[in-house]
């Protein structure tokens, strides 16, 4: 079964660890007889930082009749793929790894176990205000096209939860010094900070700035970008409240241990950051494909089989609720409802703060009015 993969790894922003994770997991599946009895044949198309190379990869797979679906790994210019692979193009299902921005989440025919930026940002804000009782939350948002959706979430949240949140402060790419925006966000008097940035390069400067300003104890709420091994070893994320989308990241989590074992067996060290994320995404893809193969009575599934399987899928990738599903046709179909949980780094070990919380992405329907 051809497993077509598009990954960004040729430019300045590159994610080679993601295609490595895909290959390791594919080899693992193949060592167990493949998926539904079909061995995987990885075909990788790599892109640079530009939309043209992303579009070229999409066109290559759109025109290849032996490709029935595409795994979109980590691609900044994902919007260039959709007109070609989506319902108005080749209508090939996209099993997506990392979702970046609002258009990703709205793409019909794209199925991902990654909740994406919007729900993670929302969960961070909700957790801070509703569960931790923060009454004066400083908010910093990413001033890029990838992070633009977070501003919409903050506004949406403000409307729903009243005045617990300060005016969000944008941080531009290549921010020279985090002191000024953090101070402008009002961390002096805040009892929490929502760090809704998407570039992990901002994690360490934020920690250092908070320590320098004497607010190192401030609870920080954010998505899963500051969980890499480097940040763990450096203690950067110590005490921070991090929303994890779909992967169990506590050290005791059996599924996390299983993935680490797979990596160790492959002699590939330990999966961290996006690599860990995509190892879990591959398991999601496996579940979808198994369902699709069943629909094809054990044969190679068609694009239609995979579409149907993805929209009917209900399952769990982790210890948690089993009611996770893809909501079906329409907006947010890309965003399979996912279950997130809040974790924190305590004494160098990841521990869970909460149980899983099912994210109903249809909550963001009002945002569709644009």
């Amino acid at each position: 079964m051809k497993f077509a993969v598009i990954n960004q790894q040729d430019g300045v922003i590159a994610f080679p660890e993601v295609s490595e994770a895909v290959q390791i997991m594919a080899d693992h599946f193949n060592s167990q007889g493949g998926i539904g009895g079909h061995l995987l044949e990885i075909e990788l198309c790599t892109t640079g930082d530009d939309p043209e190379s992303a579009q070229a990869c999409a066109q290559r797979f759109a025109n290849d009749d032996s490709v029935q679906f595409v795994y979109m790994a980590a691609v900044f210019n994902s919007g260039a793929l959709y007109p070609i692979l989506g319902p108005e193009g080749a209508n090939k299902p996209i099993l997506a790894g990392t979702l970046w921005d609002v258009p990703d989440a709205l793409q019909p025919g794209l199925y991902s176990s990654d909740p994406g930026l919007l729900p993670l940002a929302y969960e961070a804000l909700r957790y801070a205000v509703e569960e931790d009782g923060v009454t004066n939350l400083a908010v910093v948002v990413d001033d890029t096209d990838v992070g633009a959706g977070t501003l919409a979430v903050v506004d949406f949240f403000l409307a729903g939860f009243g005045g617990a949140i300060s005016t969000p402060v944008p941080i531009a790419p290549g921010q020279a010094d985090f002191l000024a925006p953090l101070t402008a966000a009002g961390i002096d008097s805040a009892d929490g900070l929502a760090l809704l940035i998407t570039d992990p390069a901002g994690c360490q400067p934020t920690r250092d700035a908070l320590e320098a300003l004497g607010r190192g104890d401030l609870p920080v709420y954010l998505g899963e970008w500051c969980v890499s091994e480097e940040f763990r070893e450096a203690g950067t994320s110590e005490g921070w409240r991090i929303v994890m989308g779909h992967r169990g990241a506590e050290d005791g989590d059996p599924e996390a241990q299983q993935l680490r074992q797979i990596y160790a067996d492959a002699g590939a060290g330990s999966p961290v950051g996006l690599a860990f994320s995509h190892a879990k995404h591959m398991d999601f893809a496996r579940q979808i494909l198994e369902l699709a193969i069943n629909k094809a009575d054990g044969g190679l599934p068609s694009s239609e089989d995979i579409h149907a399987a993805a929209t009917e899928w209900s399952g769990s990738l982790f210890i948690g609720p089993d009611t996770v599903s893809c909501p079906g046709a329409g907006a947010w179909v890309s965003n399979c409802n996912t279950a997130a949980r809040m974790i924190t780094l305590q004494d160098g070990e990841w521990v869970a703060l909460t149980g899983y919380n099912l994210i109903d992405v249809t909550l963001f329907d009002p945002l569709l009015a644009g």
């Binding site: 640079g48 096209d145 005016t167 002191l179």
Partner: protein, 683 residues
């Protein structure tokens, strides 16, 4: 008010960074006549080297001195198991690592001088700009190849925690003292450089060589040696600053390159001459940015238009308009000429053959050739825009991609949203880009050369921030609703997915490719006609010598504005076509750093001729050159690195670009043939 004071004080860190870059830029300009766009990339590379020494005890070897590495990457095989770094065992102490990193910095500076800029000393500003862009691309790519691009490394700060992890009260505001220490260090370095150039033999010799190289040589001063030493000094300064401030900014392959715009703003304020004015100007820019950012948050009436990011542009433009010819001339012993702009003779047979071949490939060729050709044709249009403004008139513009973004947004507004039909929507979109082009052109009436390159770069940043991002007027960022309807005329659609009787079930269908071909032919014919026209002659006259052109009755201002307008129009058409092709707007298409790559590719192809633009198009990302090349080799992760190296090599070895080389070879062949025939007749 106290909060605003705090914001001013908190800008010390950013001010130190921008000031350090500004004085480094002044240093290389004063000593070597180069505005070094790669200055930030040097800081990045050396900072990564420092972290590697501290964390791993290793010095990475850049890909090039290890010649087997890129070959292995291209061929996808392992030829020799050569190391990519020199391993010294355990991690080093931070001070030893700093020393080691600065030695690497010095070596980089020497390499830059002797391998690249020494050969370009007498070349025009455009060539030096292109070479520095090539080095910037190569260094950034080397960092990604050695360290990866996505995960920032852990950094051992130079300054102790006692300075970093507390605050002091100054004027009622709490500020970490390490920012003041950084600023103090940079100001001390500024003072040192000022003294160096005023009171030492080195400084006086460097100034003498800059003011009048011939006289300096007669006095026994080697301009070459002065330049080499200055390159080492500038690179060491960049490296030191990179290591010092990396804990504040975080370390990524592009951060310091992004800081180059405010650094250039400061350097321009100092006329690339005064270290003090450059440093203080850059600090003022940092202060202004912080205050503007805070005002946007604090004051409801203050517009949320990313004005803090626009500030460097405003500073640059005001400096230009107030100070006129900002960069002092250099008394070089000789001055090279810009690439030749030959008259393109219209050869119908050759042109029709070429058009036919491309059309056949679009219709019957493999779909990836169709994709590649379409991308190349749009790339050729972008390069054509630079042929007009840079090749014919000698004005370096780094804002062309911003114009494509304006046109794309305009197409969405006029076409999809307002329902204006094709081709009027496309023409209106291109007209919008033209209007922006005229505005961006205004500073060119007062400045030229590298200064103008900086102004247009700052303009591109301003357009990006004001119009594309956040709550910018075009509302492109994160907006899924800005899409494009397929172009159609008289009921016939010719979008990328439109029906076509041959190969109509593949993406893209030939319909769109043929449409783009028609537009490209029309634009090329237009530019050929322009070159042959009186306006074209006036453009070349302005390019050669503005004063002489004015004395001959040419309206220099009118010619420049017209050139920018035409170039922006062409770029706008390309932007609109790219929008049709992608079927949506993505900010990534107009990234400011991509503008640098566009100039570079246009130069590589041949920036002063229509055929040069066509050559440049073949080299564009996902263009036909890449598609055909990948049939034989896969550059993979080395693509950017090799592009940067090739670009620099072209600037040094073949400033006329591929087109110039091609013309030279054809002329040689023609001479050989003529000699042979003459010899045959004689016998």
């Amino acid at each position: 008010m106290g909060e605003y004071v705090q914001q001013l004080l908190l800008s010390s860190g950013a001010g130190a960074i921008f000031a350090a870059l500004a004085i480094g830029l002044v240093l290389t300009y004063r000593a070597a006549g180069v505005i070094n766009f790669a200055h930030g990339a040097i800081a990045t590379y050396v900072a990564y080297t420092y972290t590697s020494l501290v964390n791993e005890g290793e010095i990475p070897i850049p890909p090039l001195p290890n010649p087997v590495a890129p070959i292995e990457g291209i061929l996808g095989i392992e030829l020799l198991d050569l190391p990519t770094s020199v391993d010294f065992g355990d991690g080093w102490s931070k001070w030893a690592a700093l020393a080691g990193a600065l030695v690497v910095a010095g070596a980089l500076g020497l390499a830059f001088h002797y391998i690249v800029f020494r050969a370009l000393r007498y070349q025009p500003a455009l060539t030096k700009v292109v070479a520095s862009i090539g080095l910037m691309l190569a260094l950034q790519s080397a960092v990604v190849l050695r360290f990866g691009g996505a995960r920032p490394p852990a950094i051992e700060p130079l300054l102790p925690a006692s300075l970093r992890m507390r605050t002091v009260k100054v004027l009622g505001a709490a500020v970490p003292p390490d920012r003041f220490v950084m600023l103090g260090l940079i100001l001390a370095i500024t003072a040192g450089l000022w003294l160096l150039f005023r009171a030492t033999r080195f400084g006086l010799n460097t100034r003498a060589a800059a003011e009048h190289e011939q006289h300096a040589t007669l006095l026994g001063i080697s301009a070459d040696r002065q330049a080499a030493l200055s390159w080492v000094l500038a690179a060491v300064l960049a490296g030191f600053v990179g290591v010092l401030v990396a804990p504040v900014t975080s370390l990524t392959p592009t951060n310091f390159t992004l800081f180059i715009v405010p650094g250039l703003g400061g350097a321009l304020l100092g006329r690339f001459t005064s270290f003090w004015v450059a440093a203080l100007g850059a600090i003022a820019i940092a202060m202004g940015q912080n205050v503007l950012l805070f005002a946007e948050i604090d004051q409801e009436w203050f517009p949320n238009l990313n004005l803090d990011a626009v500030l460097p542009f405003a500073v640059v433009v005001i400096a230009m308009m107030l100070r006129g010819e900002v960069l002092p001339g250099r008394g070089s012993a000789a001055t090279g000429r810009l690439p030749a702009a030959p008259e393109t003779r219209w050869r119908p047979g050759l042109a029709l053959t070429g058009i036919a071949v491309v059309a056949v490939l679009i219709v019957w060729g493999p779909f990836d050739y169709r994709i590649g050709l379409t991308n190349s044709m749009i790339g050729a249009m972008l390069a054509l825009s630079l042929v007009v403004v840079t090749g014919y008139v000698g004005q370096i513009s780094l804002a062309q991609l911003a114009f494509t973004g304006v046109a794309a947004a305009g197409l969405a507004s006029f076409g999809t949203e307002a329902g204006i039909p094709f081709p009027f929507a496309l023409l209106l979109a291109a007209a919008a880009a033209t209007a922006f082009g005229v505005v961006v052109a205004l500073p060119s009436l007062r400045v030229r050369g590298s200064s103008l390159a900086i102004v247009t770069l700052a303009s591109a940043v301003a357009i990006d921030q004001l119009f594309f991002r956040g709550e910018g007027w075009f509302r492109i960022e994160g907006n899924p609703h800005r899409t494009f309807d397929d172009p159609s005329l008289f009921g016939i659609e010719f979008g990328p997915a439109s029906d076509f009787p041959i190969n109509g079930d593949e993406f893209p269908t030939p319909a769109f490719g043929l449409f783009v071909l028609v537009v490209l032919v029309a634009l090329c014919a237009g530019v050929v006609r322009l070159r042959q026209s009186r306006l074209g002659e006036q453009m070349l006259a302005v390019r050669a010598n503005e004063r002489a052109a004015a004395a001959a009755g040419v309206s220099v201002a009118g010619v420049k504005l017209t050139a920018f307008a035409i170039a922006a129009f062409i770029a706008g058409v390309a932007g609109a076509l790219n929008g049709y092709k992608l079927e949506s707007i993505r900010i990534g298409s107009f990234d400011v750093l991509l503008s640098l790559s566009l100039l570079a590719f246009a130069y590589l192809g041949g920036i002063a001729s229509v055929t040069g633009a066509l050559w440049a198009g073949t080299l564009f990302s996902a263009g036909i050159g890449v598609v055909v090349g990948e049939e034989f080799i896969d550059l993979g992760r080395y693509e950017s690195y090799i592009a940067g190296v090739l670009l620099t090599a072209t600037a040094v070895l073949n400033p006329e670009g591929i087109d110039g080389f091609d013309r030279a070879q054809r002329a040689r062949l023609a001479r050989w043939w003529a000699n042979r025939r003459a010899a045959a007749v004689a016998t």
